[in-house]
């Protein structure tokens, strides 16, 4: 049984940067299931990467203290030695594979440990059987769903024989069924093979009764606080949206179907996005919400009919379409096309579809309300996660396309910022009569601004709050 320990650790991203952790001491009990929580950007990933020995190899500086496995400093071990003790599952399932197929991926991992070919075969057979993955042996990884990819990653970790399994937001691209299965697999591994599991997640639902220890990363004290697992919420019903009578609008889709490989995601959906109203698009991770947005912005193939003002989407040039249907991207850097924050806003103002509404004064006011005024001379990419979100939303509101799709625009926002963004969003949409549809896993503080809710589950897109016109 391996013993891991973090002792008096002070860690920063650079020699002269403020530390992320200060004098942190933490030792997971062997054979336990630990949940690590905290807002995004608080340092959950950093702690996991320190335990995995990826930091400081891939960045940052240990200013004092150490991270050890069985009293040996983990950063002094070679990667192939570390892998036998600790391995990690990453947030982006598809970016953790070097090889094309499931079998090649497992062989790659085991060959790194310099095992003999028969031993490699034996271990692969065992883990594939244990995790019920044998039917995927020769499948190309890119054709698997997010949940299946994470189970293959878990199979690699298991085959390597690591006793500590780290998971960094592993469900970000995994649907509910995949999540349930992965959690069940993890629990079994903990019980039968006494694996130690540390899982980082900002969403606490579904963990009650499953975890032994609950830790909270405290960004202000730069340390880890232990909490009682009894504090974990039982599944509570989601706050409902108070649906309003819906208006009509320019963008509509009929009989819309989307697939990933040969897997159907959405079947025969139809809806008209109402103008001057703000809608919530809900559904599990991996259900196809971002894919729907990608189809509406003509970034991927679809079957069926998407129309703008009763003309099929394909009759518009992409250049025209982009000035009708805009998206606030989930990944902020995807949005920026200038270096400095003020230039982003200036560019939007220059090409705005509502130049009389967005006067210089109104833009300055909006930036001030979003608390962005002081950082406008900064490089956009260097802003904090929350500031980037606010900059994205404001730039797109200034553009003022008739249809605005927002993919997780509230991630990393504190309560005050959330309120400010939603108020600005609602006001602009009313003033300019825009149709807006929001994907947000966070409902608290959000639903009261919403006029309707579309729910995506089991390939069906349904209006669950709001009265169709």
């Amino acid at each position: 049984m391996d013993h891991f320990a973090v002792t008096n650790l002070t860690f920063a991203y650079a020699e002269d940067a403020p530390p992320i952790f200060q004098e942190l001491t933490f030792a997971p009990e062997p054979g336990t299931f630990n949940l690590l929580t905290g807002p995004s950007g608080s340092g959950k990933s950093t702690l996991l990467k320190l335990l995995a020995g990826l930091y400081p190899q891939y960045g940052g500086v240990i200013q004092s203290g150490q991270v050890t496995v069985n009293d040996t400093e983990i950063s002094t071990l070679q990667p192939f030695q570390r892998a036998a003790h600790v391995a990690m599952l990453f947030q982006n399932p598809s970016r953790q594979f070097a090889m094309r197929t499931v079998l090649e991926q497992l062989q790659f991992a085991l060959a790194n440990l310099q095992l003999s070919p028969p031993e490699i075969d034996r271990r692969i057979q065992t883990v594939l059987t244990d995790l019920h993955l044998t039917q995927f042996t020769h499948r190309a990884l890119e054709t698997l769903s997010g949940g299946e990819q994470q189970r293959v990653a878990l199979a690699s970790v298991l085959a390597l024989g690591s006793s500590l399994i780290l998971l960094d937001e592993p469900f970000a691209n995994v649907d509910a069924a995949g999540r349930t299965q992965l959690l069940a697999d993890l629990k079994t591994l903990q019980r039968t093979q006494h694996k130690t599991i540390i899982l980082a997640d900002h969403d606490l639902s579904g963990y009650a009764g499953l975890v032994d220890q609950l830790y909270h990363v405290d960004g202000t004290q730069r340390t880890l606080l232990q909490e009682s697992p009894a504090a974990l919420p039982a599944t509570t019903p989601a706050t409902p949206v108070q649906g309003q009578p819906l208006t009509t609008g320019p963008l509509a889709w009929h009989d819309l179907s989307l697939t990933v490989g040969d897997r159907p995601l959405i079947t025969a959906a139809q809806f008209t996005l109402p103008a001057s109203q703000l809608g919530l698009l809900s559904g599990d991770n991996g259900a196809g919400k971002s894919t729907l947005f990608a189809a509406l912005t003509r970034q991927r193939r679809y079957a069926g009919d998407i129309r703008y003002q009763d003309r099929p989407a394909k009759q518009y040039k992409l250049k025209q379409w982009a000035l009708q249907v805009a998206e606030v991207y989930q990944n902020s850097p995807d949005q920026f096309i200038r270096i400095q924050a003020s230039d982003e806003l200036a560019l939007s103002a220059q090409h705005s579809l509502h130049p009389t509404y967005w006067t210089a004064e109104r833009i300055a006011q909006a930036a001030a309300r979003l608390n962005l005024a002081a950082v406008l001379d900064h490089v956009s990419y260097a802003l904090s996660g929350g500031q980037q979100k606010k900059l994205q939303v404001l730039s797109m509101l200034i553009m003022g396309q008739p249809v605005l799709l927002l993919d997780e625009p509230f991630a990393g926002l504190d309560q005050a910022s959330l309120q400010a963004v939603l108020t600005l969003l609602q006001q602009t949409i009313h003033d300019l009569q825009l149709s807006a549809l929001v994907v947000s896993h966070q409902r608290q503080g959000v639903v009261s601004f919403m006029d309707y809710e579309l729910h995506l589950a089991d390939q069906q897109l349904q209006l669950i709050a709001g009265e169709a016109a």
Binding site: K49, L54, Q57, Y58, Q78, P79, F80, A83, A87, M88, F90, N92, S94, R95, Q96, F97, A98, M99, R100, L103, E104, Q107, F108, A109, L110, A111, N112, L113, Q114, S116, P117, I120, D121, I124, L141, E142, S156, L160, T297, Q299, R300, L318, K319, A322, L323, E327, Y329, P333, D334, F336, I337, L347, S348, Q350, H351, Y381, S395, M396, M399, Q401
Partner: protein, 229 residues
């Protein structure tokens, strides 16, 4: 079960690479129409012997035709001495290069090619697996490219191929992806310059070294000794 890469047919990928470079390089300095034709012809015979899809081969040869013709015509029009010879030499050289490349790319998979270069020419593993990982991401790179273009169109700008901003964004995305992949590979035990189990057997019999060396020597002797037309 450990044999994952395609079962190889024909010559070893390393042999073919050696022939491609070993003949391709002196071919740049050789001045012979005949030798160009022989190299291209032998390459074509090899492809036919391995039953490579003739439709694909014809298509590639057809696509190269304007290039070969362009070389031919520019030397024929603008040449001052020996126009006929120079025109045909540069025209046939396009096909000699093309066929030399095709004997490698059309008979060997990328994975086998990289593994073979690793085993026989000591290409570092980090390079082999980094490149494989990158190639497996090709589809997502295309997707990302469209997304970057759309993000600009939404703001009333068209990022054309020559706009440096497009590359700034692509570089940022690539850095992120390559860092994620590198961390994941490290977590899976990949260690630069450490020995790994070699799961793919890629025999390179001595006669193939001999064949490659022999062909290169014969070519050089013919090109720089005999100097046919």
């Amino acid at each position: 079960m450990t044999q994952t890469a395609d079962t190889p047919r024909g010559l070893n990928a390393a042999t073919l690479t050696l022939i491609m470079i070993g003949i391709g390089f002196p071919l740049t300095f050789a001045q012979s129409v005949w030798l160009n034709t022989i190299v291209a012809g032998l390459g074509l015979l090899y492809l036919i012997a391995l039953r490579v899809s003739w439709r694909k081969v014809s298509l590639i040869l057809l696509i190269a035709l304007p290039l070969a013709f362009g070389s031919w015509i520019s030397f024929w029009f603008f040449g001052t001495v020996d126009r006929w010879h120079l025109a045909w030499m540069y025209g046939s050289r396009v096909y000699a290069y093309l066929l030399l490349g095709m004997i490698v790319t059309m008979t060997v998979s990328t994975q086998r090619w990289l593994v073979s270069l690793h085993l026989h020419f000591h290409l570092p593993n980090a390079f082999v697996f980094g490149l494989l990982g990158a190639l497996n991401m090709a589809d997502r790179v295309r997707h990302e490219f469209r997304r970057i273009q759309y993000s600009a169109l939404m703001r009333g700008e068209n990022l054309r191929l020559w706009n440096p901003l497009l590359y700034l964004r692509i570089v940022l995305v690539s850095l992120n992806w390559s860092n994620d992949l590198a961390e994941a590979m490290t977590s899976q035990g990949f260690t630069e310059n450490a020995p790994r189990t070699e799961l793919i057997a890629d025999p390179m019999p001595a006669w193939q070294w001999g064949l490659a060396g022999g062909l290169i020597v014969i070519y050089c002797a013919a090109a720089f000794g005999l100097r046919p037309w």
